[in-house]
């Protein structure tokens, strides 16, 4: 049989499997099947490629597949659920890098044959290189910010912006020169270099709590990079898959932006939380936050009838997902009605909190969204905020001049009692004070989330 015609047909089948796979990934009952379906599509695409006659030598291919497969498997099996954002950032970066390298390989092949770059191949190669490189270095910076070895704060000054604009101009100029005027290899490498720096400058100005948006956007980029590599190779399987991922990343980006009531442009370029926000600190003269200890917290919680937990990034940092479940179970056993209210942008990636709570086997029917809880907040006896800050800041609702004005929040300040578990009174990522801490019905429990929840659980057992 002639595999020359079979291969594209198998690619088509793969693309169909990807479409059904992504569709099913969007529904809870079918998600696991969707993922498997997509992985079958990928396996078919790989096998079809291996049968392709362009491939002359299998030694390196086997080496690459085995090495990459083992590394990927170990990473996926050993990663802690709290570190999922880092994992996804790294995978986004690797995908982008692979696509960029494919474009580079194709460029070198054309140059090797002494050929000139046709306009359409040239444009595809330059686009693939640019997007791939930006995705890679941007994702690595995002990873660094999540891991904490690159500052999680928004880094921004006019110099950074000017440099970014100059680099972008230089990269585009190089691309035009390479394609239109037969520029040579040094120009290509300088294009790669400037694209890599651009990726760094693109993510560096974005602060930690805007990470869900950035990760979703880089996810979209990794898809677009694959699509660009598809144009380079004139391969529809890559174009379709890349476009699908590009689209799904955009949808998630949009969901995240809406959850913060901000536009994408605002997230990317406003250097939110860079220290310019009003009322940062210092004006805490007459405000007093009342603190609370484990015993009293246990009393309030143990005799409540409605309790809502609001988890935030602090829960992930303290790896307290099992502790929160333990406390919730103790309360449920006492007849308390317990719910978890998850804000869409809590944590560092879309759905971060849901993954952690799922790991701790929190029952699905106890999870709810802000829209479900807010209307009924007056009837909540105790709202327990665990390591969250900006998503419960009443300023978003009350102060139109606040930087977070209009962001949908979980209105725990309207609950009968609110307990905030937090290491200090320090400001959240938005760098604005949180009036919730100083409200009459609010109590501060100072400490690490895991320790605090454990202490309260011990006291509840004594009741």
């Amino acid at each position: 049989m002639d595999f020359g015609t079979v291969t594209p047909l198998v690619y088509l089948l793969s693309a169909v499997l990807f479409i059904f796979g992504i569709k099913r990934l969007g529904h809870p009952e079918t998600a696991a099947k969707g993922n498997r379906l997509a992985s079958v599509g990928m396996l078919l695409a790989i096998l079809a490629t291996l049968l392709d006659r362009q491939i002359l030598d299998f030694t390196w291919i086997i080496a690459g597949l085995v090495a990459g497969g083992l590394i990927g498997l170990v990473m996926a099996k050993t990663i802690k659920m709290t570190a999922m954002p880092e994992m996804v950032a790294v995978f986004n970066g690797f995908g982008g890098a692979a696509s960029g390298l494919v474009a580079t390989g194709e460029y070198l092949r054309i140059m090797d044959m002494g050929g000139t770059l046709a306009i359409d191949a040239g444009v595809s190669i330059m686009a693939g290189t640019l997007i791939g490189a930006v995705t890679f270095s941007g994702s690595m910076i995002a990873y660094g910010k999540l891991q904490g070895f690159v500052t999680g704060n928004a880094v921004s000054n006019p110099f950074v912006r000017l440099l970014a604009i100059l680099l972008a101009a230089f990269a585009i100029g190089s691309a035009v020169y390479l394609v239109g005027f037969g520029g040579d290899l040094p120009f290509y490498w300088s294009l790669v270099g400037s694209a890599l720096i651009l990726g760094v400058l693109f993510v560096i100005p974005i602060g930690g709590a805007d990470m869900p948006v950035v990760i979703a956007l880089l996810n979209s980029y990794s898809g677009l990079a694959a699509a660009a590599a598809g144009f380079v190779l004139e391969n529809n399987a890559l174009i379709i898959s890349g476009a699908l991922v590009g689209a799904s990343g955009l949808v998630l980006t949009n969901i995240m932006c809406r959850a913060m009531n901000r536009s994408l442009v605002n997230v990317l370029f406003s250097a939110f939380g860079a220290g310019t926000a009003s009322g940062v600190t210092g004006d805490d003269g007459d405000k007093v936050a009342t603190s609370i200890e484990a015993e009293d917290s246990a009393m309030i919680l143990g005799y409540a009838s409605q309790v809502v937990f609001v988890p935030g990034y602090g829960l992930a940092v303290a790896q307290a997902q099992h502790k929160i479940r333990e406390l919730a179970d103790l309360l449920t056993a006492r007849g308390v009605n317990v719910k978890y209210c998850v804000h869409p942008v809590a944590g560092r990636m879309p759905g971060h909190m849901n993954v952690l709570l799922a790991e701790a086997n929190v029952p699905y029917d106890q999870l709810c969204e802000p829209e479900d809880v807010n209307p009924d907040m007056e009837n909540i006896d105790v709202a327990v905020v665990v390591g969250a800050n900006d998503v419960v800041n009443p300023l978003a609702r009350d102060d139109a001049s606040s930087p977070i004005a209009g962001m949908p929040i979980i209105e725990t300040d309207r609950a009968k009692t609110c307990i905030v578990i937090k290491r200090s009174l320090s400001v959240g990522y938005a760098a604005i004070d949180n009036p919730l801490f100083y409200k009459e019905n609010n109590r501060m429990f100072f400490g690490d989330a895991a320790d605090a929840l454990g202490l309260i659980a011990e006291e509840v057992k004594q009741l």
């Binding site: 990934l25 969007g26 997509a38 790989i46 597949l65 990459g68 590394i71 692979a98 174009i239 849901n354």
Partner: protein, 97 residues
């Protein structure tokens, strides 16, 4: 503009629209699995990497570039699908219990 490029653009735009239609409303629980699963799909550039490595011939530079692309794409594909499955199994066991 050549026919191939034009067809590629058609395919790209239509696939993009399909993607936007497919996932307009995703429950928050699935945001992370959807992202890591679709991320694994973007590892489809593994196909391109295979072609680069396989057709590198005598050029060592191309072979190394292809090999790097292949390893990175394979990590992306294998790691992405496995970790997504791991997450979704967690969601599932919880539904059963």
């Amino acid at each position: 503009m050549t026919g191939t490029l034009l067809i590629g653009l058609y395919v790209f735009v239509l696939a993009m629209l399909v993607g936007l239609e497919l996932i307009t409303k995703v429950p928050p629980t699935l945001h992370t699995p959807l992202m890591s699963g679709s991320n694994a799909i973007s590892g489809i550039s593994i196909v391109g990497a295979l072609l680069v490595v396989g057709s590198a011939g005598d050029s060592p530079l191309m072979r190394w570039i292809g090999l790097a692309a292949l390893i990175l794409a394979t990590i992306n594909v294998v790691g992405g699908f496995v970790v997504t499955d791991r997450m979704l199994q967690m969601f599932k066991s919880k539904d059963a219990g």
